[in-house]
């Protein structure tokens, strides 16, 4: 692909947020009829800001991000509107979406070990992303790659660029994933549970790294997690989801200091606190969780 390839989705519509999602629904056909995994989610992400999407398993938070990217598995259908800088993404052909993916919207996934191909060096995997969108020589791509690795603080980057994924620790692999996502300078980064599989000290480092990179590049971010405490630290705005439905949305401060929805309140009550003394009262309120089936 030549570097001057026309990007039809490049010129932002004035006044538009970076990402606007309206009534996004995701449906999967199954043998027993259609199943909605996301029902009319609406939210927006501003340039340089972070939207945290928080929910438990089955809440539809991951499916929402895959729908935005056009990466739904196995026959999933997306309805509603997703506008990137004012340009509609839903309904675009896979070919058009391929130009968006990686270049305008990049994604970082939960398990960095299985998310990288074990048969190829990390350098190659970053280079190919770069070259797929910008073209150019291998040499140029390699230089970009090494620089990207240095930016995420991989020591000895010029040598380690030729190492394989299994030769890195979990935290370093996630840095590599972040480097891979950011090397094309996307407008939006979607991070799907990026620190869930990592130790807590490593998580802290990765979260610091993400916020620093975000400040430097002005990238917008969607941060998906089940961890309320993490969301409270990284997100400017928060969307709470449950079983496919959006439950509550607001700024982080609003959600955490004045939660309105019963589910949000219950989640916050149930969260174990590290600074909360062992008390006699039960940790779980009666409104969440399962009862006797």
């Amino acid at each position: 692909m030549s570097p001057t390839v026309t990007r039809t989705i490049s010129l932002p519509v004035p006044g538009a947020a970076l990402l606007e999602v309206d009534d996004l629904s995701v449906t999967f056909p199954t043998t027993s009829g259609d199943v909605d995994v996301v029902r009319k989610a609406s939210f927006a992400v501003q340039h340089g800001q972070t939207l945290g999407i928080v929910g438990e398993s089955g809440s539809g938070k991951s499916m929402t991000s895959l729908a935005i990217m056009g990466l739904l598995p196995n026959g999933g259908r997306t309805t509603g509107s997703v506008r990137l800088s004012g340009h509609e993404l839903v309904g675009r052909s896979d070919r058009e979406m391929r130009r968006v993916r990686g270049d305008r919207i990049a994604m970082v996934f939960q398990d960095p070990l299985s998310s990288l191909n074990p048969y190829y060096t990390v350098g190659l995997q970053i280079e190919e992303a770069y070259r797929a969108h910008r073209g150019g020589s291998r040499k140029a791509a390699r230089a970009v790659t090494i620089e990207a690795l240095e930016r995420v603080r991989i020591a000895d980057a010029s040598r380690r660029v030729d190492h394989y994924p299994h030769q890195f620790s979990g935290g370093m692999r996630q840095r590599i994933m972040i480097a891979m996502a950011l090397c094309l300078e996307p407008d939006l980064l979607i991070a799907d549970e990026p620190t869930t599989a990592l130790d807590v000290t490593v998580q802290a480092q990765i979260l610091d790294l993400l916020s620093e990179l975000q400040r430097e590049t002005g990238t917008g971010m969607i941060f998906i997690t089940h961890d309320l405490a993490v969301v409270s630290q990284v997100a400017d705005d928060v969307l709470v989801m449950r079983g496919g439905d959006p439950v509550e949305m607001g700024t982080a401060e609003q959600i955490f200091s004045r939660p309105q929805a019963p589910y949000t309140r219950a989640l916050l009550d149930a969260l174990p606190r590290i600074d909360d003394p062992f008390s006699e009262r039960p940790t779980a309120p009666a409104t969440t969780g399962e009862g006797r089936a």
């Binding site: 807590v200 200091s257 939660p259 989640l267 174990p272 590290i274 600074d275 969780g289 399962e290 089936a293």
Partner: protein, 292 residues
């Protein structure tokens, strides 16, 4: 809290894993020390939480205590007896007193066995016949852990994660053990489910005087359930003490780093929320607001 008698004492526990290494005929071996001279005590009716990150050796330690793997060195004393090398009848006796709840219920419960069979299995293996009969006991246990006793004939896959974990707990309780080892027992569960399981475990402890050896990587969870805490790092116990000491006054650098790394919600937000809830309680709630 420190006057409860010691139920289980571990001293100098060490575990080495050897791998056949290089050399023409694999003569040179490498030895990896997963657990290095670890010692701690679990008191009767109380919980010792062992926290650590991956590679800290906490799971290996738990397995040694559960006698699922052999220690390379060290001693384990339970109820006054040295059980480090227990075999045969002594080991069987140990197993009636010490049970385990594992992390992932869907891989630790045999998917082809019914709930009844799963929960009553320890009774069969130990050759224990309860007075009221096996089935009645199983029904009792299911009821106690919050499951419907009529679901005896169901299979694990028909339950949610939290419910399946309750089955695992019921199974652990079947032989009325004194010590239950919880190896990351709530780590795979959603937050709200986690909270209910922690409550269940605490209630059971209060009722039955159970002791827990609670292995976890999540410090906040450990805070909710442990009376004493041991922090492990690279095979060693870096610091241990009672809950307040560890969480409020950590001494070691690693412990401080670990605690500092745990994400927390802004205290002013927490305070605001508490105030709001308090106001609603006293002035009546502002009718369940906007579900977005």
């Amino acid at each position: 809290m420190n006057d409860a008698p010691v139920l289980l004492q571990a001293t100098g526990l060490t575990k080495d894993f050897t791998t056949r290494g290089d050399g023409v005929f694999r003569a040179r071996t490498t030895r990896f020390r997963a657990v290095d001279e670890v010692g701690f005590a679990v008191r009767a009716g109380e919980t010792l939480g062992i926290v650590g990150e991956s590679g800290s050796g906490k799971s290996t330690t738990a397995r040694m205590i559960a006698k699922l793997i052999e220690p390379t060195a060290g001693t384990i004393t339970f109820d006054g007896e040295d059980v480090t090398t227990a075999r045969g009848p002594a080991l069987a006796a140990f197993r009636t007193k010490v049970q385990v709840v594992f992390q992932d219920p869907f891989s630790s419960l045999n998917p082809r066995h019914t709930v009844e069979r799963i929960v009553s299995a320890p009774l069969d293996y130990q050759g224990i016949t309860p007075k009221q009969g096996k089935r009645a006991l199983v029904r009792d246990l299911l009821d106690r852990v919050g499951l419907n006793p009529d679901h005896l004939q169901r299979y694990p896959r028909q339950f949610s994660g939290g419910q399946a974990q309750r089955i695992g707990i019921a199974r652990a309780l079947a032989v009325s053990p004194k010590l239950v080892i919880c190896d990351e027992a709530v780590s795979a569960l959603d937050v709200s489910v986690q909270a209910r399981i922690i409550d269940l475990l605490r209630d059971l402890q209060a009722e039955r005087g159970l002791s827990y050896l609670f292995i976890a990587h999540d410090l906040a969870v450990v805070r909710q359930i442990a009376h004493d805490v041991a922090v492990m790092h690279r095979g060693k116990v870096v610091e241990q003490g009672d809950r307040e000491a560890i969480f409020d006054h950590p001494q070691e650098e690693y412990t401080k780093t670990l605690l500092a790394a745990v994400p927390t919600i802004d205290p002013s937000w927490e305070a605001a929320r508490a105030t709001m809830l308090e106001q609603e309680r006293t002035h009546g709630s502002t009718a369940g607001r906007t579900e977005a």
